[in-house]
Symmetry: C2
Subunit: 327 residues, 2 copies
Protein backbone atom coordinates (compact mmCIF):
# COMPACT_ATOMS: atom_id res chain seq x y z
CA UNK A 1 0.00 0.00 0.00
CA UNK A 2 1.28 3.45 -0.86
CA UNK A 3 0.77 4.86 2.61
CA UNK A 4 2.78 2.13 4.35
CA UNK A 5 6.02 3.23 5.97
CA UNK A 6 7.38 -0.31 6.05
CA UNK A 7 9.29 -1.70 3.10
CA UNK A 8 7.79 -5.17 3.53
CA UNK A 9 4.25 -5.85 4.69
CA UNK A 10 4.36 -8.44 7.48
CA UNK A 11 2.65 -11.64 6.53
CA UNK A 12 0.11 -13.51 8.60
CA UNK A 13 2.47 -16.49 8.72
CA UNK A 14 4.79 -14.75 11.18
CA UNK A 15 2.29 -14.79 14.01
CA UNK A 16 -0.06 -17.47 12.78
CA UNK A 17 2.49 -20.29 13.01
CA UNK A 18 2.82 -19.66 16.76
CA UNK A 19 -0.84 -20.46 17.39
CA UNK A 20 -1.89 -22.62 14.47
CA UNK A 21 -2.45 -25.88 16.36
CA UNK A 22 -4.25 -24.19 19.25
CA UNK A 23 -6.38 -22.21 16.82
CA UNK A 24 -7.62 -25.49 15.36
CA UNK A 25 -8.79 -26.56 18.81
CA UNK A 26 -10.50 -23.18 19.20
CA UNK A 27 -12.25 -23.59 15.85
CA UNK A 28 -13.53 -27.06 16.82
CA UNK A 29 -14.78 -25.64 20.12
CA UNK A 30 -16.61 -22.85 18.30
CA UNK A 31 -18.20 -25.30 15.86
CA UNK A 32 -19.44 -27.53 18.67
CA UNK A 33 -20.83 -24.59 20.61
CA UNK A 34 -22.64 -23.09 17.66
CA UNK A 35 -24.25 -26.34 16.48
CA UNK A 36 -28.04 -26.08 16.51
CA UNK A 37 -28.96 -29.40 14.90
CA UNK A 38 -30.90 -27.67 12.14
CA UNK A 39 -29.67 -27.97 8.58
CA UNK A 40 -30.62 -24.48 7.43
CA UNK A 41 -29.49 -22.69 10.58
CA UNK A 42 -26.23 -24.60 10.89
CA UNK A 43 -25.34 -23.91 7.27
CA UNK A 44 -26.02 -20.20 7.79
CA UNK A 45 -24.02 -20.06 11.02
CA UNK A 46 -21.09 -21.94 9.45
CA UNK A 47 -21.07 -19.46 6.59
CA UNK A 48 -20.94 -16.47 8.94
CA UNK A 49 -18.26 -18.13 11.07
CA UNK A 50 -16.10 -18.65 8.00
CA UNK A 51 -16.80 -15.15 6.71
CA UNK A 52 -15.59 -13.82 10.07
CA UNK A 53 -12.16 -14.04 8.60
CA UNK A 54 -8.84 -13.64 10.25
CA UNK A 55 -9.41 -15.03 13.76
CA UNK A 56 -7.40 -12.09 15.11
CA UNK A 57 -9.23 -11.98 18.44
CA UNK A 58 -8.65 -15.61 19.52
CA UNK A 59 -5.08 -15.30 18.19
CA UNK A 60 -4.53 -12.39 20.58
CA UNK A 61 -5.90 -14.48 23.45
CA UNK A 62 -3.65 -17.41 22.57
CA UNK A 63 -0.50 -15.30 22.09
CA UNK A 64 -1.03 -13.32 25.30
CA UNK A 65 -1.69 -16.63 27.02
CA UNK A 66 1.62 -17.98 25.72
CA UNK A 67 3.42 -14.80 26.74
CA UNK A 68 2.20 -14.98 30.32
CA UNK A 69 2.13 -18.77 30.72
CA UNK A 70 -1.62 -19.13 31.21
CA UNK A 71 -2.94 -22.72 31.19
CA UNK A 72 -3.85 -23.76 27.65
CA UNK A 73 -6.96 -25.74 28.72
CA UNK A 74 -8.50 -22.53 30.00
CA UNK A 75 -7.24 -20.42 27.10
CA UNK A 76 -8.99 -22.56 24.48
CA UNK A 77 -12.60 -22.01 25.68
CA UNK A 78 -11.87 -18.34 26.39
CA UNK A 79 -10.42 -17.79 22.90
CA UNK A 80 -13.47 -19.57 21.45
CA UNK A 81 -15.73 -17.39 23.57
CA UNK A 82 -14.12 -14.20 22.24
CA UNK A 83 -14.49 -15.26 18.61
CA UNK A 84 -18.07 -16.46 19.09
CA UNK A 85 -19.01 -13.18 20.76
CA UNK A 86 -17.51 -11.40 17.75
CA UNK A 87 -19.61 -13.61 15.44
CA UNK A 88 -22.78 -12.92 17.43
CA UNK A 89 -22.23 -9.18 17.09
CA UNK A 90 -21.70 -9.61 13.31
CA UNK A 91 -25.07 -11.37 13.00
CA UNK A 92 -26.91 -8.54 14.74
CA UNK A 93 -24.81 -5.77 13.15
CA UNK A 94 -25.47 -7.01 9.64
CA UNK A 95 -29.16 -7.01 10.48
CA UNK A 96 -29.00 -3.53 12.03
CA UNK A 97 -27.02 -2.20 9.03
CA UNK A 98 -29.18 -4.16 6.59
CA UNK A 99 -25.98 -5.47 4.95
CA UNK A 100 -26.49 -8.16 2.32
CA UNK A 101 -23.00 -9.57 2.24
CA UNK A 102 -20.02 -10.08 4.52
CA UNK A 103 -16.74 -10.89 2.72
CA UNK A 104 -18.71 -12.23 -0.20
CA UNK A 105 -20.92 -14.52 1.91
CA UNK A 106 -24.63 -13.73 2.19
CA UNK A 107 -25.52 -12.42 5.66
CA UNK A 108 -27.78 -14.45 7.92
CA UNK A 109 -30.83 -12.20 7.75
CA UNK A 110 -30.89 -12.43 3.95
CA UNK A 111 -31.35 -16.19 4.27
CA UNK A 112 -33.46 -16.55 7.40
CA UNK A 113 -36.58 -14.83 8.74
CA UNK A 114 -35.87 -11.71 10.81
CA UNK A 115 -36.92 -13.39 14.05
CA UNK A 116 -34.75 -16.46 13.56
CA UNK A 117 -31.77 -14.20 12.78
CA UNK A 118 -32.24 -12.23 16.00
CA UNK A 119 -32.59 -15.46 17.99
CA UNK A 120 -29.57 -17.07 16.34
CA UNK A 121 -27.46 -14.05 17.32
CA UNK A 122 -28.82 -14.36 20.86
CA UNK A 123 -27.95 -18.05 20.89
CA UNK A 124 -24.37 -17.30 19.84
CA UNK A 125 -24.15 -14.65 22.60
CA UNK A 126 -25.41 -17.23 25.07
CA UNK A 127 -22.91 -19.85 23.97
CA UNK A 128 -20.05 -17.37 24.11
CA UNK A 129 -21.04 -16.56 27.70
CA UNK A 130 -21.09 -20.28 28.47
CA UNK A 131 -17.61 -20.73 26.95
CA UNK A 132 -16.22 -17.81 28.97
CA UNK A 133 -17.57 -19.45 32.13
CA UNK A 134 -15.70 -22.68 31.28
CA UNK A 135 -12.47 -21.06 32.46
CA UNK A 136 -13.90 -21.19 36.02
CA UNK A 137 -12.61 -17.71 36.73
CA UNK A 138 -14.92 -14.96 37.94
CA UNK A 139 -12.69 -12.13 36.70
CA UNK A 140 -12.66 -13.62 33.19
CA UNK A 141 -16.45 -13.71 33.24
CA UNK A 142 -16.67 -10.12 34.48
CA UNK A 143 -14.20 -9.05 31.79
CA UNK A 144 -16.40 -10.80 29.24
CA UNK A 145 -19.67 -9.20 30.34
CA UNK A 146 -18.05 -5.77 30.62
CA UNK A 147 -16.87 -6.13 27.00
CA UNK A 148 -20.35 -7.15 25.93
CA UNK A 149 -21.84 -4.08 27.64
CA UNK A 150 -19.27 -1.81 25.91
CA UNK A 151 -19.95 -3.39 22.53
CA UNK A 152 -23.70 -2.84 22.86
CA UNK A 153 -23.25 0.74 24.05
CA UNK A 154 -20.87 1.40 21.13
CA UNK A 155 -23.33 0.00 18.61
CA UNK A 156 -26.22 1.99 20.07
CA UNK A 157 -24.05 5.13 20.01
CA UNK A 158 -23.19 4.47 16.36
CA UNK A 159 -26.88 4.08 15.49
CA UNK A 160 -27.68 7.29 17.38
CA UNK A 161 -24.94 9.35 15.69
CA UNK A 162 -25.76 8.28 12.14
CA UNK A 163 -25.84 11.27 9.75
CA UNK A 164 -23.93 13.37 12.27
CA UNK A 165 -20.33 14.54 12.43
CA UNK A 166 -19.22 13.11 15.78
CA UNK A 167 -16.89 14.88 18.18
CA UNK A 168 -13.48 13.28 18.60
CA UNK A 169 -14.60 12.00 22.00
CA UNK A 170 -17.75 10.37 20.61
CA UNK A 171 -15.73 8.80 17.77
CA UNK A 172 -13.28 7.32 20.30
CA UNK A 173 -16.16 5.93 22.34
CA UNK A 174 -17.71 4.46 19.22
CA UNK A 175 -14.59 2.67 17.99
CA UNK A 176 -13.79 1.50 21.50
CA UNK A 177 -17.22 -0.15 21.71
CA UNK A 178 -17.25 -1.35 18.13
CA UNK A 179 -13.80 -3.00 18.18
CA UNK A 180 -11.31 -2.09 20.89
CA UNK A 181 -13.42 -3.36 23.83
CA UNK A 182 -13.30 -6.91 22.48
CA UNK A 183 -9.60 -6.73 21.53
CA UNK A 184 -8.95 -5.54 25.09
CA UNK A 185 -11.10 -8.33 26.53
CA UNK A 186 -9.37 -10.91 24.29
CA UNK A 187 -5.96 -9.93 25.71
CA UNK A 188 -7.13 -9.40 29.29
CA UNK A 189 -8.98 -12.73 29.42
CA UNK A 190 -5.64 -14.46 28.85
CA UNK A 191 -3.56 -12.40 31.28
CA UNK A 192 -6.26 -12.81 33.96
CA UNK A 193 -5.62 -16.56 33.71
CA UNK A 194 -1.94 -16.05 34.58
CA UNK A 195 -0.15 -15.57 37.90
CA UNK A 196 1.24 -12.18 36.87
CA UNK A 197 1.13 -9.19 39.21
CA UNK A 198 -1.83 -6.87 38.57
CA UNK A 199 0.05 -4.11 36.65
CA UNK A 200 1.30 -6.65 34.10
CA UNK A 201 -2.16 -8.20 33.78
CA UNK A 202 -3.51 -4.74 32.98
CA UNK A 203 -0.62 -4.04 30.57
CA UNK A 204 -1.93 -6.77 28.26
CA UNK A 205 -5.44 -5.29 28.41
CA UNK A 206 -3.95 -1.92 27.52
CA UNK A 207 -2.10 -3.51 24.58
CA UNK A 208 -5.32 -5.09 23.31
CA UNK A 209 -7.27 -1.85 23.65
CA UNK A 210 -4.73 0.22 21.70
CA UNK A 211 -4.42 -2.48 19.05
CA UNK A 212 -8.21 -2.52 18.70
CA UNK A 213 -8.38 1.27 18.33
CA UNK A 214 -5.75 1.06 15.58
CA UNK A 215 -7.58 -1.80 13.89
CA UNK A 216 -10.85 0.11 13.70
CA UNK A 217 -9.21 3.33 12.47
CA UNK A 218 -7.48 1.34 9.72
CA UNK A 219 -10.84 -0.23 8.87
CA UNK A 220 -12.36 3.23 8.64
CA UNK A 221 -9.46 4.44 6.44
CA UNK A 222 -9.54 1.36 4.19
CA UNK A 223 -13.20 2.03 3.57
CA UNK A 224 -11.97 5.07 1.60
CA UNK A 225 -8.64 3.97 0.12
CA UNK A 226 -8.96 0.25 -0.61
CA UNK A 227 -10.31 -0.88 -3.95
CA UNK A 228 -13.87 -2.14 -4.36
CA UNK A 229 -12.49 -5.61 -5.03
CA UNK A 230 -10.59 -5.60 -1.73
CA UNK A 231 -13.58 -4.29 0.22
CA UNK A 232 -16.25 -6.36 -1.48
CA UNK A 233 -18.29 -3.13 -1.63
CA UNK A 234 -17.80 0.33 -3.21
CA UNK A 235 -15.30 2.64 -1.47
CA UNK A 236 -16.86 5.15 0.92
CA UNK A 237 -19.55 2.67 1.98
CA UNK A 238 -19.62 3.85 5.60
CA UNK A 239 -20.10 7.47 4.60
CA UNK A 240 -22.85 6.59 2.12
CA UNK A 241 -24.61 4.84 5.03
CA UNK A 242 -24.31 7.97 7.18
CA UNK A 243 -21.39 6.87 9.36
CA UNK A 244 -18.86 9.71 9.58
CA UNK A 245 -15.48 8.26 10.58
CA UNK A 246 -12.00 9.65 11.26
CA UNK A 247 -10.88 10.28 7.63
CA UNK A 248 -14.04 12.33 7.01
CA UNK A 249 -13.66 14.09 10.37
CA UNK A 250 -10.07 15.07 9.50
CA UNK A 251 -11.17 16.22 6.05
CA UNK A 252 -13.87 18.42 7.64
CA UNK A 253 -11.36 19.82 10.13
CA UNK A 254 -8.61 20.49 7.57
CA UNK A 255 -10.98 22.24 5.17
CA UNK A 256 -12.96 24.02 7.91
CA UNK A 257 -16.21 22.65 6.46
CA UNK A 258 -19.49 23.31 8.23
CA UNK A 259 -20.74 19.93 9.61
CA UNK A 260 -24.34 20.62 8.59
CA UNK A 261 -23.29 21.51 5.03
CA UNK A 262 -21.10 18.39 4.99
CA UNK A 263 -23.97 16.08 5.92
CA UNK A 264 -26.16 17.77 3.30
CA UNK A 265 -23.54 17.10 0.66
CA UNK A 266 -23.15 13.49 1.82
CA UNK A 267 -26.88 12.92 1.42
CA UNK A 268 -26.60 14.10 -2.19
CA UNK A 269 -25.55 11.21 -4.53
CA UNK A 270 -23.22 13.41 -6.61
CA UNK A 271 -21.93 15.29 -3.56
CA UNK A 272 -20.92 12.14 -1.71
CA UNK A 273 -18.84 10.92 -4.67
CA UNK A 274 -16.86 14.19 -4.67
CA UNK A 275 -16.23 13.96 -0.94
CA UNK A 276 -15.12 10.33 -1.13
CA UNK A 277 -12.74 11.20 -3.97
CA UNK A 278 -11.26 14.11 -1.99
CA UNK A 279 -10.78 12.09 1.20
CA UNK A 280 -9.15 9.33 -0.83
CA UNK A 281 -6.75 11.64 -2.64
CA UNK A 282 -6.02 14.66 -0.46
CA UNK A 283 -4.38 13.07 2.55
CA UNK A 284 -7.24 12.78 5.06
CA UNK A 285 -7.19 8.99 4.85
CA UNK A 286 -3.41 9.05 5.22
CA UNK A 287 -3.67 11.26 8.29
CA UNK A 288 -6.11 8.79 9.81
CA UNK A 289 -3.63 5.99 9.23
CA UNK A 290 -1.02 8.04 11.10
CA UNK A 291 -3.45 8.22 14.03
CA UNK A 292 -3.70 4.43 13.90
CA UNK A 293 0.11 4.19 13.95
CA UNK A 294 0.12 6.19 17.17
CA UNK A 295 -2.22 3.66 18.75
CA UNK A 296 0.05 0.81 17.60
CA UNK A 297 3.00 2.61 19.20
CA UNK A 298 0.98 2.96 22.42
CA UNK A 299 0.13 -0.76 22.23
CA UNK A 300 3.78 -1.70 21.94
CA UNK A 301 4.74 0.72 24.73
CA UNK A 302 2.16 -0.92 26.99
CA UNK A 303 4.21 -4.13 26.89
CA UNK A 304 7.54 -2.46 27.73
CA UNK A 305 7.70 -4.05 31.18
CA UNK A 306 6.56 -7.57 30.38
CA UNK A 307 8.94 -10.48 29.86
CA UNK A 308 10.00 -10.41 26.20
CA UNK A 309 10.11 -13.55 24.06
CA UNK A 310 8.72 -15.17 20.92
CA UNK A 311 5.05 -14.67 21.91
CA UNK A 312 5.62 -10.94 22.38
CA UNK A 313 7.42 -10.81 19.04
CA UNK A 314 4.46 -12.55 17.46
CA UNK A 315 2.09 -10.00 19.06
CA UNK A 316 4.20 -7.16 17.62
CA UNK A 317 4.18 -8.86 14.24
CA UNK A 318 0.38 -9.09 14.50
CA UNK A 319 0.28 -5.38 15.36
CA UNK A 320 2.32 -4.60 12.22
CA UNK A 321 -0.08 -6.70 10.19
CA UNK A 322 -3.04 -4.74 11.59
CA UNK A 323 -1.56 -1.45 10.45
CA UNK A 324 -0.22 -2.62 7.08
CA UNK A 325 -3.04 -4.90 5.93
CA UNK A 326 -4.67 -4.18 2.59
CA UNK A 327 -8.22 -5.02 3.68
CA UNK B 1 -61.92 -19.03 37.83
CA UNK B 2 -64.37 -21.84 37.30
CA UNK B 3 -61.68 -24.48 36.88
CA UNK B 4 -59.98 -23.74 40.19
CA UNK B 5 -60.15 -26.47 42.78
CA UNK B 6 -59.38 -24.06 45.62
CA UNK B 7 -62.18 -22.25 47.34
CA UNK B 8 -60.11 -19.07 47.74
CA UNK B 9 -57.55 -17.84 45.22
CA UNK B 10 -54.31 -17.06 47.05
CA UNK B 11 -53.41 -13.41 46.86
CA UNK B 12 -50.06 -11.98 45.91
CA UNK B 13 -49.81 -10.35 49.34
CA UNK B 14 -49.12 -13.72 51.00
CA UNK B 15 -45.73 -14.13 49.38
CA UNK B 16 -45.03 -10.57 48.36
CA UNK B 17 -44.80 -9.23 51.91
CA UNK B 18 -41.88 -11.59 52.60
CA UNK B 19 -39.73 -9.99 49.92
CA UNK B 20 -41.15 -6.50 49.47
CA UNK B 21 -38.19 -4.53 50.86
CA UNK B 22 -35.59 -6.65 49.03
CA UNK B 23 -37.58 -6.42 45.82
CA UNK B 24 -37.31 -2.63 46.00
CA UNK B 25 -33.51 -2.95 46.12
CA UNK B 26 -33.69 -5.32 43.14
CA UNK B 27 -35.82 -2.84 41.19
CA UNK B 28 -33.34 -0.03 41.87
CA UNK B 29 -30.49 -2.28 40.75
CA UNK B 30 -32.34 -3.10 37.53
CA UNK B 31 -33.05 0.58 36.83
CA UNK B 32 -29.39 1.52 37.32
CA UNK B 33 -28.19 -1.32 35.12
CA UNK B 34 -30.61 -0.54 32.30
CA UNK B 35 -29.94 3.20 32.20
CA UNK B 36 -28.60 4.26 28.80
CA UNK B 37 -28.51 8.04 29.25
CA UNK B 38 -30.79 8.56 26.25
CA UNK B 39 -34.23 10.05 26.80
CA UNK B 40 -36.06 8.05 24.17
CA UNK B 41 -34.35 4.72 24.87
CA UNK B 42 -34.62 5.04 28.64
CA UNK B 43 -38.34 5.86 28.43
CA UNK B 44 -38.87 2.83 26.21
CA UNK B 45 -36.87 0.52 28.48
CA UNK B 46 -38.66 1.79 31.60
CA UNK B 47 -41.99 1.07 29.94
CA UNK B 48 -41.02 -2.50 29.09
CA UNK B 49 -39.58 -3.04 32.58
CA UNK B 50 -42.86 -1.92 34.13
CA UNK B 51 -44.91 -3.96 31.66
CA UNK B 52 -42.91 -7.02 32.71
CA UNK B 53 -45.37 -7.31 35.55
CA UNK B 54 -45.29 -9.55 38.51
CA UNK B 55 -41.57 -9.86 39.30
CA UNK B 56 -42.12 -13.57 39.92
CA UNK B 57 -38.60 -14.58 38.91
CA UNK B 58 -36.66 -12.31 41.29
CA UNK B 59 -39.22 -13.16 43.98
CA UNK B 60 -38.33 -16.83 43.56
CA UNK B 61 -34.63 -15.98 43.88
CA UNK B 62 -35.23 -13.95 47.03
CA UNK B 63 -37.52 -16.53 48.68
CA UNK B 64 -35.22 -19.45 47.89
CA UNK B 65 -32.36 -17.30 49.19
CA UNK B 66 -34.26 -16.73 52.44
CA UNK B 67 -35.09 -20.42 52.72
CA UNK B 68 -31.48 -21.50 52.40
CA UNK B 69 -29.85 -18.57 54.20
CA UNK B 70 -27.92 -17.22 51.20
CA UNK B 71 -26.23 -13.83 51.71
CA UNK B 72 -28.61 -11.02 50.74
CA UNK B 73 -25.87 -8.85 49.19
CA UNK B 74 -25.27 -11.54 46.58
CA UNK B 75 -28.98 -12.36 46.15
CA UNK B 76 -29.87 -8.79 45.15
CA UNK B 77 -27.70 -8.58 41.98
CA UNK B 78 -28.58 -12.16 41.04
CA UNK B 79 -32.32 -11.48 41.40
CA UNK B 80 -31.86 -8.31 39.32
CA UNK B 81 -29.94 -10.32 36.74
CA UNK B 82 -32.75 -12.85 36.40
CA UNK B 83 -35.40 -10.17 35.91
CA UNK B 84 -33.27 -8.20 33.44
CA UNK B 85 -32.59 -11.34 31.42
CA UNK B 86 -36.35 -11.90 31.33
CA UNK B 87 -36.83 -8.32 30.12
CA UNK B 88 -34.18 -8.72 27.42
CA UNK B 89 -35.95 -11.81 26.10
CA UNK B 90 -39.27 -9.89 26.06
CA UNK B 91 -37.71 -7.16 23.90
CA UNK B 92 -36.49 -9.65 21.31
CA UNK B 93 -39.57 -11.90 21.55
CA UNK B 94 -41.95 -9.03 20.91
CA UNK B 95 -39.87 -8.16 17.86
CA UNK B 96 -39.76 -11.79 16.68
CA UNK B 97 -43.54 -12.17 17.21
CA UNK B 98 -44.20 -8.69 15.81
CA UNK B 99 -46.36 -7.95 18.88
CA UNK B 100 -47.54 -4.36 19.21
CA UNK B 101 -48.40 -4.35 22.89
CA UNK B 102 -47.37 -6.00 26.13
CA UNK B 103 -49.85 -5.62 28.98
CA UNK B 104 -51.21 -2.49 27.37
CA UNK B 105 -47.80 -0.84 26.91
CA UNK B 106 -46.44 -0.36 23.38
CA UNK B 107 -43.57 -2.73 22.63
CA UNK B 108 -40.08 -1.36 22.03
CA UNK B 109 -39.88 -2.08 18.32
CA UNK B 110 -43.08 -0.11 17.68
CA UNK B 111 -41.35 2.97 19.08
CA UNK B 112 -37.73 2.54 18.00
CA UNK B 113 -36.01 1.56 14.75
CA UNK B 114 -35.54 -2.19 14.30
CA UNK B 115 -31.77 -1.97 14.77
CA UNK B 116 -31.97 0.03 17.98
CA UNK B 117 -34.50 -2.46 19.36
CA UNK B 118 -32.20 -5.42 18.64
CA UNK B 119 -29.24 -3.58 20.21
CA UNK B 120 -31.24 -2.52 23.28
CA UNK B 121 -32.19 -6.15 23.86
CA UNK B 122 -28.51 -7.08 23.48
CA UNK B 123 -27.55 -4.37 25.96
CA UNK B 124 -30.03 -5.72 28.52
CA UNK B 125 -28.62 -9.24 27.97
CA UNK B 126 -25.13 -7.85 28.54
CA UNK B 127 -26.12 -6.05 31.73
CA UNK B 128 -27.90 -9.10 33.08
CA UNK B 129 -24.70 -11.11 32.51
CA UNK B 130 -22.74 -8.40 34.35
CA UNK B 131 -25.19 -8.51 37.28
CA UNK B 132 -24.93 -12.31 37.50
CA UNK B 133 -21.14 -11.97 37.69
CA UNK B 134 -21.48 -9.55 40.64
CA UNK B 135 -22.19 -12.51 42.91
CA UNK B 136 -18.54 -13.59 42.40
CA UNK B 137 -19.57 -17.20 42.03
CA UNK B 138 -18.60 -19.24 38.97
CA UNK B 139 -21.46 -21.74 39.37
CA UNK B 140 -24.00 -18.90 39.45
CA UNK B 141 -22.53 -17.57 36.20
CA UNK B 142 -22.59 -21.01 34.58
CA UNK B 143 -26.19 -21.46 35.72
CA UNK B 144 -27.00 -18.10 34.16
CA UNK B 145 -25.39 -18.80 30.78
CA UNK B 146 -26.90 -22.30 30.64
CA UNK B 147 -30.34 -20.72 31.17
CA UNK B 148 -29.66 -18.20 28.41
CA UNK B 149 -28.68 -21.00 26.02
CA UNK B 150 -31.87 -22.94 26.88
CA UNK B 151 -34.02 -19.84 26.41
CA UNK B 152 -32.55 -19.17 22.95
CA UNK B 153 -32.90 -22.81 21.91
CA UNK B 154 -36.51 -22.80 23.12
CA UNK B 155 -37.32 -19.65 21.17
CA UNK B 156 -35.68 -20.97 18.02
CA UNK B 157 -37.58 -24.25 18.42
CA UNK B 158 -40.83 -22.31 18.80
CA UNK B 159 -40.11 -20.34 15.62
CA UNK B 160 -39.25 -23.56 13.78
CA UNK B 161 -42.41 -25.41 14.89
CA UNK B 162 -44.83 -22.61 14.01
CA UNK B 163 -47.85 -23.93 12.10
CA UNK B 164 -47.08 -27.46 13.24
CA UNK B 165 -48.66 -29.72 15.84
CA UNK B 166 -45.67 -30.47 18.10
CA UNK B 167 -45.05 -33.84 19.74
CA UNK B 168 -45.42 -33.88 23.50
CA UNK B 169 -41.62 -34.01 23.75
CA UNK B 170 -41.12 -30.95 21.53
CA UNK B 171 -43.79 -29.07 23.48
CA UNK B 172 -42.02 -29.86 26.77
CA UNK B 173 -38.71 -28.68 25.30
CA UNK B 174 -40.37 -25.50 24.06
CA UNK B 175 -41.96 -24.53 27.37
CA UNK B 176 -38.82 -25.48 29.26
CA UNK B 177 -36.82 -23.05 27.11
CA UNK B 178 -39.51 -20.41 26.97
CA UNK B 179 -40.18 -20.26 30.73
CA UNK B 180 -39.05 -23.10 32.96
CA UNK B 181 -35.31 -22.71 32.28
CA UNK B 182 -35.32 -19.21 33.77
CA UNK B 183 -37.56 -20.19 36.72
CA UNK B 184 -35.12 -23.03 37.39
CA UNK B 185 -32.14 -20.68 37.09
CA UNK B 186 -33.83 -18.13 39.37
CA UNK B 187 -34.20 -20.74 42.12
CA UNK B 188 -30.85 -22.43 41.55
CA UNK B 189 -28.92 -19.14 41.51
CA UNK B 190 -30.07 -18.60 45.10
CA UNK B 191 -29.42 -22.11 46.40
CA UNK B 192 -25.96 -22.11 44.75
CA UNK B 193 -25.14 -19.15 47.00
CA UNK B 194 -25.91 -21.21 50.12
CA UNK B 195 -23.87 -23.74 52.07
CA UNK B 196 -26.42 -26.50 51.50
CA UNK B 197 -25.37 -30.01 50.44
CA UNK B 198 -25.62 -30.61 46.69
CA UNK B 199 -28.91 -32.62 46.68
CA UNK B 200 -30.70 -29.78 48.48
CA UNK B 201 -29.19 -27.17 46.12
CA UNK B 202 -30.56 -29.20 43.20
CA UNK B 203 -33.94 -29.62 44.93
CA UNK B 204 -34.54 -25.88 44.64
CA UNK B 205 -33.63 -25.96 40.95
CA UNK B 206 -36.08 -28.81 40.48
CA UNK B 207 -38.76 -26.79 42.29
CA UNK B 208 -38.15 -23.81 39.99
CA UNK B 209 -38.24 -25.95 36.86
CA UNK B 210 -41.56 -27.60 37.73
CA UNK B 211 -43.06 -24.27 38.77
CA UNK B 212 -41.96 -22.79 35.44
CA UNK B 213 -43.48 -25.65 33.45
CA UNK B 214 -46.76 -25.12 35.31
CA UNK B 215 -46.57 -21.36 34.75
CA UNK B 216 -46.20 -21.73 30.99
CA UNK B 217 -48.94 -24.36 30.68
CA UNK B 218 -51.30 -22.05 32.60
CA UNK B 219 -50.27 -19.22 30.25
CA UNK B 220 -51.08 -21.44 27.29
CA UNK B 221 -54.45 -22.39 28.82
CA UNK B 222 -55.35 -18.81 29.78
CA UNK B 223 -54.77 -17.82 26.18
CA UNK B 224 -57.94 -19.83 25.46
CA UNK B 225 -60.08 -19.40 28.59
CA UNK B 226 -59.36 -15.89 29.89
CA UNK B 227 -61.40 -12.96 28.63
CA UNK B 228 -60.01 -10.54 26.06
CA UNK B 229 -59.94 -7.86 28.75
CA UNK B 230 -57.78 -10.03 31.00
CA UNK B 231 -55.42 -10.97 28.18
CA UNK B 232 -55.24 -7.57 26.51
CA UNK B 233 -55.69 -9.47 23.22
CA UNK B 234 -58.39 -11.74 21.73
CA UNK B 235 -58.56 -15.29 23.13
CA UNK B 236 -56.74 -17.90 21.08
CA UNK B 237 -54.02 -15.44 20.09
CA UNK B 238 -51.24 -18.07 20.17
CA UNK B 239 -53.14 -20.41 17.87
CA UNK B 240 -53.98 -17.58 15.45
CA UNK B 241 -50.23 -16.90 15.28
CA UNK B 242 -49.53 -20.55 14.48
CA UNK B 243 -48.35 -21.66 17.93
CA UNK B 244 -50.04 -24.95 18.83
CA UNK B 245 -49.94 -25.38 22.61
CA UNK B 246 -51.09 -28.03 25.11
CA UNK B 247 -54.85 -27.24 25.10
CA UNK B 248 -54.92 -27.56 21.30
CA UNK B 249 -52.73 -30.68 21.43
CA UNK B 250 -55.13 -32.31 23.93
CA UNK B 251 -58.10 -31.28 21.79
CA UNK B 252 -56.48 -32.89 18.72
CA UNK B 253 -55.70 -36.05 20.70
CA UNK B 254 -59.15 -36.35 22.29
CA UNK B 255 -60.95 -35.86 18.99
CA UNK B 256 -58.46 -37.90 16.95
CA UNK B 257 -58.05 -35.01 14.52
CA UNK B 258 -55.54 -35.25 11.70
CA UNK B 259 -52.74 -32.70 12.44
CA UNK B 260 -52.55 -31.56 8.82
CA UNK B 261 -56.32 -31.00 8.65
CA UNK B 262 -56.12 -29.17 11.99
CA UNK B 263 -53.47 -26.73 10.76
CA UNK B 264 -55.50 -26.16 7.60
CA UNK B 265 -58.54 -25.29 9.68
CA UNK B 266 -56.45 -23.00 11.92
CA UNK B 267 -55.24 -21.07 8.88
CA UNK B 268 -58.88 -20.46 7.90
CA UNK B 269 -60.31 -17.38 9.74
CA UNK B 270 -63.70 -19.00 10.35
CA UNK B 271 -62.19 -22.40 11.12
CA UNK B 272 -59.89 -21.04 13.82
CA UNK B 273 -62.81 -19.38 15.64
CA UNK B 274 -64.63 -22.72 15.82
CA UNK B 275 -61.55 -24.48 17.18
CA UNK B 276 -60.89 -21.79 19.79
CA UNK B 277 -64.53 -22.00 20.91
CA UNK B 278 -64.32 -25.81 21.19
CA UNK B 279 -61.07 -25.79 23.14
CA UNK B 280 -62.49 -23.15 25.46
CA UNK B 281 -65.71 -25.03 26.10
CA UNK B 282 -65.13 -28.76 25.72
CA UNK B 283 -62.58 -29.40 28.45
CA UNK B 284 -59.26 -29.35 26.60
CA UNK B 285 -58.19 -26.17 28.37
CA UNK B 286 -59.28 -27.67 31.69
CA UNK B 287 -57.27 -30.83 30.99
CA UNK B 288 -54.21 -28.67 30.32
CA UNK B 289 -54.70 -26.95 33.66
CA UNK B 290 -54.72 -30.38 35.31
CA UNK B 291 -51.34 -31.05 33.68
CA UNK B 292 -50.09 -27.80 35.20
CA UNK B 293 -51.38 -28.92 38.61
CA UNK B 294 -49.28 -32.06 38.31
CA UNK B 295 -46.19 -29.92 37.75
CA UNK B 296 -47.07 -27.83 40.83
CA UNK B 297 -47.37 -31.04 42.82
CA UNK B 298 -43.95 -32.12 41.54
CA UNK B 299 -42.55 -28.70 42.49
CA UNK B 300 -43.83 -29.05 46.05
CA UNK B 301 -42.61 -32.64 46.28
CA UNK B 302 -39.12 -31.48 45.23
CA UNK B 303 -38.89 -29.49 48.47
CA UNK B 304 -39.96 -32.38 50.74
CA UNK B 305 -36.49 -32.74 52.27
CA UNK B 306 -35.57 -29.07 52.77
CA UNK B 307 -35.91 -27.28 56.09
CA UNK B 308 -39.51 -26.01 56.30
CA UNK B 309 -40.32 -22.48 57.44
CA UNK B 310 -41.97 -19.22 56.41
CA UNK B 311 -39.94 -18.84 53.18
CA UNK B 312 -41.01 -22.31 52.02
CA UNK B 313 -44.62 -21.48 52.91
CA UNK B 314 -44.29 -18.32 50.84
CA UNK B 315 -42.91 -20.34 47.90
CA UNK B 316 -45.88 -22.71 48.14
CA UNK B 317 -48.22 -19.75 48.28
CA UNK B 318 -46.53 -18.39 45.14
CA UNK B 319 -47.00 -21.79 43.50
CA UNK B 320 -50.73 -21.68 44.31
CA UNK B 321 -50.90 -18.20 42.85
CA UNK B 322 -49.27 -19.45 39.63
CA UNK B 323 -51.91 -22.11 39.17
CA UNK B 324 -54.93 -20.06 40.23
CA UNK B 325 -54.12 -16.70 38.65
CA UNK B 326 -56.65 -15.19 36.29
CA UNK B 327 -54.15 -13.75 33.82
Amino acid sequence: MTYSSNAATPTKSQWLSAVEADLKRVTRKIRDASFLNDQLLDAAVTMILEAGGKRLRPTITLLVGQACHAPIDKLIPVAASVELLHTATLVHDDLVDNANERRGAPTLHTQLPLGVTVLTGDFLFAQSAALAAEADNVRVVKNFSAALVSICKGEILQAQTKWQVPSSDIYQQRIYGKTAALFEAAALAASLLSDLPEPLIQAYGHFGRELGMAYQIIDDALDFVATSDQLGKPAGHDLREGHVTLPAMLYIENHKIDPVAFIEQVRNPKGVEEIIHSIRENGAARAAIQAARNHIQAAEDALADVEQGPAIEALFSLASYVIDRDF
